[in-house]
Each structure stands twice: as C-alpha cells, then as structure tokens.
C-alpha cells in the first residue's frame, strides 16, 4: 500500500512541473508587457523601466526566470496581484473557502439525489421512473448552467421572492468577522439569531445550479454501472442463495457498482471548479471563480497565473486522493493481483 502511495504521488510530480511550465509560458505569451500593464498608458522613463525590469527579474535569461518562478511556487510564493498589491496566495486563501463551501454543497446535492435516482432507475429499468430520471439527467447534462442560474433567479428570487438574488450573506441585517471562512459555520459561531438561515438561503440556488451537471453525470453513471453489475455472475449467485432483493441490490450489486461511481464523483472536482467560475459570476459569489474572471478583466496576470496554478493544483491533489480511495474500496487492487 505504501509503495503504491509513493508511486502514485511520484506520478503527479511531472504534472505539477508541467503545470508550472504552462502557466509560466502562457503568461509570457500574453500580449502586452507586464510593466506597461503596471504603469498604464502614461509612459515611463527608460531608467525606471530598467529598474522595474530588474526588480521583477525580467532582465534574467528565460530559464533563470522559470527556475525563480518554480522556486517561488515551491516556497508558497505565487506572485503579487498587480491591482491589489497583495500576495496571490493570500487573496486566494481568503476567497477559496467561499468556493469550497459552494462546491461542497453542490456535490452533496448531486450525490444525495444522483445515486438513489440512478440505482432506482437501473432496478426499475424501462419503467416510467427510469425514463423520467434519464430525461431529467439528459436535460441537466445539456443545461447551459449560466442560463439555468438566470432562470432560477428570475423565477425563485424575482418572481416568487423565495431566495436572495446574490451574494453569500444578508449583510444589512447580519455582520460578523470571518473565522473559518465558511459562512455556514461562521454564522453559527456568531451566535446571531437567523444568521445561519440567511447563509443557507443564499447557498440554495448556487448549489442547485452548480450541482446540476454533476447530478446528471452521477445519476447516469450510477444507472449504467448498476445495470452492468446486475448482470454479473456474482449477483446471480447472491440471488441463488435466496437473499432478499433488497440485500442483493443494496449490498451485493451496489457495493460493486459504486466503485466506478466514486471515481466519477472524484472527477467532478474539476467540473465543479470550472462551473464555479460561471455560478459565482451569476450569483456575485465572492469566490475564486469570480476573482479569476475579474483578474482577466483587470489584466491582472500574476493573479490569473497564480490562481490557475492553485486551482489546478487542488484538482490534481483531489484526483490523487480519489485514486487512493479507489484502491481502498476495491479489494482487487488493495491486495495486489
């Protein structure tokens, strides 16, 4: 197990290096000189320019710059935002809990609905329920989520007035300093009555919007995995033992069917973070996705570079954890061939 762990970790290192390389090269390819971006259109004295170039290490050879960049990242230095002048890592750390909270709730929404729906659809294959689940899943999978978000705001918030339109919190009625960065937890810690409800209400629509595609993917995957497993010889063996259908499906089949589903759930991390960019933009959710889009608009390339590096790094690490979990739940791999 430990050997496997080491090997798997070692395999991700080249990906990290390549990621650093790509972000480094990409930002160098961006049209426009970073110095110009800093000084704006007022122009700059040549001596000052040379000094700035030296300060930023731009007078060094390219490989040297890359090594400095990589070295910085390894030591937690992801650059400094041009706009806010704060370190990128620090900005990211402030904003990331918001994204994490949203992504987590969206994933819970997707898993809690998706797996039972997929299992029931597979067991009742060909029934009205199956067709309904598959139709909803297909629609969800095909949904432009930015439009879906707007529709929900239009209907739930503007028309029915059930949920807040945007943001994480009702800041007029409640104010408290962030402790953990997670609004649900902080609202409880603040001790203010109604704060938790307000925080939860803000989360509902964004979670549904962000969870829609994962929900569709998980439901479809669970259904097809379940259908495949239900045809396996060992399920027939379980039925031949006279076990109840609930035990056959809920234990023997589901346990095996969940193995690929867990992998798919893990792979949704990327989808969730990508979807967060859109969802956060629509709901004015102060997370890293919205921040990334704003960085482009402000031509804040260090923030963009560092943000992409950090988000991708998180995805790589999560995928690594998923792989290790996969090993842990699959005895065939756990005990070697």
């Amino acid at each position: 197990m430990f050997r496997f762990f080491l090997r798997r970790v070692a395999l991700t290192l080249p990906t990290f290096v390549a990621l650093m390389f790509v972000t480094f090269v990409a930002v160098r390819l961006v049209p426009g000189d970073p110095i110009e971006a800093r000084t704006g259109e007022r122009g700059i004295a040549p001596e000052r320019l040379a000094q700035l170039r030296h300060e930023l290490g731009l007078d060094q050879p390219v490989w040297r710059q890359f090594l400095d960049y990589a070295n910085g990242i390894v030591h937690g230095d992801f650059g400094v935002s041009i706009v806010t002048k704060t370190p990128v890592l620090q900005e990211f750390a402030v904003l990331f809990p918001a994204t994490l909270e949203l992504a987590f709730c969206a994933l819970i929404f997707a898993v809690v609905l998706g797996i039972p729906a997929g299992v029931l659809a597979a067991v009742k294959r060909g029934s009205v329920f199956d067709h309904a689940v598959m139709t909803v899943a297909l629609t969800g999978y095909s949904m432009p989520i930015f439009w879906w978000g707007l529709l929900l705001i239009m209907f739930m918030s503007e028309y029915l007035g059930l949920t807040p339109v945007s943001g994480r919190m009702d800041l007029i009625n409640y104010y408290f300093e962030p402790v953990t960065g997670f609004m649900l937890i902080d609202s409880i810690l603040s001790g203010q009555e109604g704060a938790f409800g307000a925080a939860a209400a803000h989360l509902v629509l964004p979670s549904i919007v962000l969870g829609t595609i994962p929900l569709a993917v998980i439901a479809r995957m669970t259904r097809s995995s379940m259908l495949e497993v239900l045809g396996e010889d060992y399920v027939r063996t379980a039925r031949a033992k006279g076990l109840s259908p609930l035990r056959v499906v809920g234990l023997h089949a589901l346990r095996n069917a969940l193995i690929p589903v867990v992998t798919v759930i893990g792979l949704q991390t990327g989808t969730l973070l990508a979807g967060a960019v859109l969802t956060e933009t629509i709901f004015a959710w102060p997370g890293v996705g919205k921040w990334l889009i704003e960085s482009i608009a402000r031509r804040d390339y260090p923030a963009l570079q560092g943000g992409i590096m950090l988000i991708s790094g998180i995805v790589i690490v999560v995928n690594l954890i998923v792989d290790l979990t996969y090993v842990a739940i699959n005895p065939r791999i756990r005990h070697g061939g």
Binding site: D233, Y234, T237, A238, R239, A240, G242, L243, P331
Partner: protein, 331 residues
Amino acid sequence: MKEPLLSIRNLSVTFATSRGPFKAVDGVDLDVAEGELVAIVGESGSGKSVAMLAVMGLLPWTAKVSADRLAFGNRDLLTLSARERRKIIGHDIAMIFQEPMSSLNPCFTVGFQIREAMAAHLDLSSAERQKRAVELLDLVGIPEPERRLKAFPHQLSGGMSQRVMIAMALACSPKLIIADEPTTALDVTIQAQILDLLLRLQKESGVGLVLITHDMGVVAETSQRVCVQYAGQQIEMQGTRGLFADPHHPYTAALLDALPERASGRLLPSIPGVVPGLADRPAGCLFSPRCRFATDTCRTVPPSRASAALGLALCHYPLKDGVPQHREFAL
C-alpha cells in the same frame, strides 16, 4: 421409484427479443429423486442452463416461464410467492455455476459469502456460522480453512473458487444441487478433483444432483440418467448405460459418433449444418435438416414423444440398435 424431489412437466421458457419471441426451452420433462444424479447434456443453445435457471427463478424479466407442473417436493414453484420461493432457493435447492471466478462477489471475503447463505436460512449464531464455514471449507478440501475464510475471491484459483462455491451450496444442507457446467472453465486435472468431490459429497449426503454439461465424457463417468437437449427441446432421456449403448434419437446417436474417442476412422462421422437459430427454425422436427434419416414427415410434422422403452425420444422414427423404427411396429 422414490417420490421425486423435483418434478417438471412441459416446461417452456420464452424470451422477448427485439426480433420477436424466442423459445429457448420447449417442453422439458424431468423428475429428480433424492440421491439421484441426473445429467442434462446438450450443445450451446440447447437451453439446458435456461431450463434449470427457470427452476431457480433466476431468469431475467424478459423471460416468460410456463409449465404444466414445476414442483419441489409438494410445493408448486409456479404459484409460490417470491418470498416463499426464496425460502426454498439457496436452502433446499442450491446451484453451482460455470465460471467460479466471476460467480463470487469480488468485494466480500469468502467467509462473508458463505456465512451469508447460512444467515439467510438457518437459525445459527454468528459463532456457529463461523464454525460451520470452517467445517465446510474443510469438507470441500480447502487447506487452512480459517485463513481462507478471510481471503477475497481474486486471491483464489479457479479450482479453489469452485470449491468455495460448492461449500456455499452445501451451507444449508440442500436436498438438491444443480451444477451448471461446474468444470468447463477448469483444467482437466482440476476438473477431475472437482468431479470427484461432487460425486463424493453426493454419495455421502444423499443429495439429488442435476449436472448440466456438454461433455459426454463427464456424463458417462458421473450420471445415472441422462437427458439430452437439442435447440431447446428435450429429445431423449434414459439411463446412462442405455444411452451410450443404444441411443434412440438420431441426434444422440450422431453426437456420440462424432466424438473422436469413439471414432475408428481418420474421418469422423460429423453432423452437417448448424443448430437452427431464431430465424430458421424448421417446421417439423427441429433436427430434420441435419438428420440423415429424415423423411418428408419429419420435415413437416412435429414429432411426438416415444415410449420410455425408446428413451422418450422426440422422433418420428426412433432408432433401435441404430436402425430407425416405425413407431407403430415398435410397440
């Protein structure tokens, strides 16, 4: 003859396919008594497994099962509720499958799967179940049973897996075991071990055993009675010695002649053509296109069953000592 454990009359199974209904089993009769070893033999597509899966109630929902009688002891399996039927399945009737490696659930230990069968049907404490599981593995010849119970199926070889399957089948002391090609996936020397084990257990416990196989050699060495199937129909049934000495259905005779070990010349007497599929089922006797004795009657009129003296052959002109008999003269 003893009261049969399992009694089947005119069992038919029809599958709904996209190209219309497909009759996989067509009019099978079978009685199996306690302590008896009956073989069902046939080539692929003969419906031999499907018939027994129908008895177990293990067919997919696309299958429609009908029978004049399908009874275990004095209980009618056709009218039994699913819940009542599950009390018999796995308890009084157990089944062993062809692919031992894929028939065990890869996610659970061997011990869990054996104990589970007992937990479903027997009133035993968990310590008693564990004790019996150890005894069972010992009985089927698995060394170090305590350690093996903790193993996962992928850690076992094919032969070992089949022994585990047998132990699982025996867990609730069934009255009848159905073994569906239990040795086909195994090597010859392992096959010999498994067959010996099955025969020994059958003799010792007096359980009824239905052995489904395509191998005439296995039939000859194990069974007391043989039921031959072709294209879903039961075409002959008689005692094993009688069947090999004097087959009454032309298909049985041709099948035996086509075995290399029974042939004398350099060329084998082969059967032309292939088993009819869904699209090309002949009007009369299903074997008529390949039968060298076939007449116009055979090609147009479905045959009826001959007497027990003629092996219940489903044939217009059953063979006697290799010569076709006109039914009216035969009896």
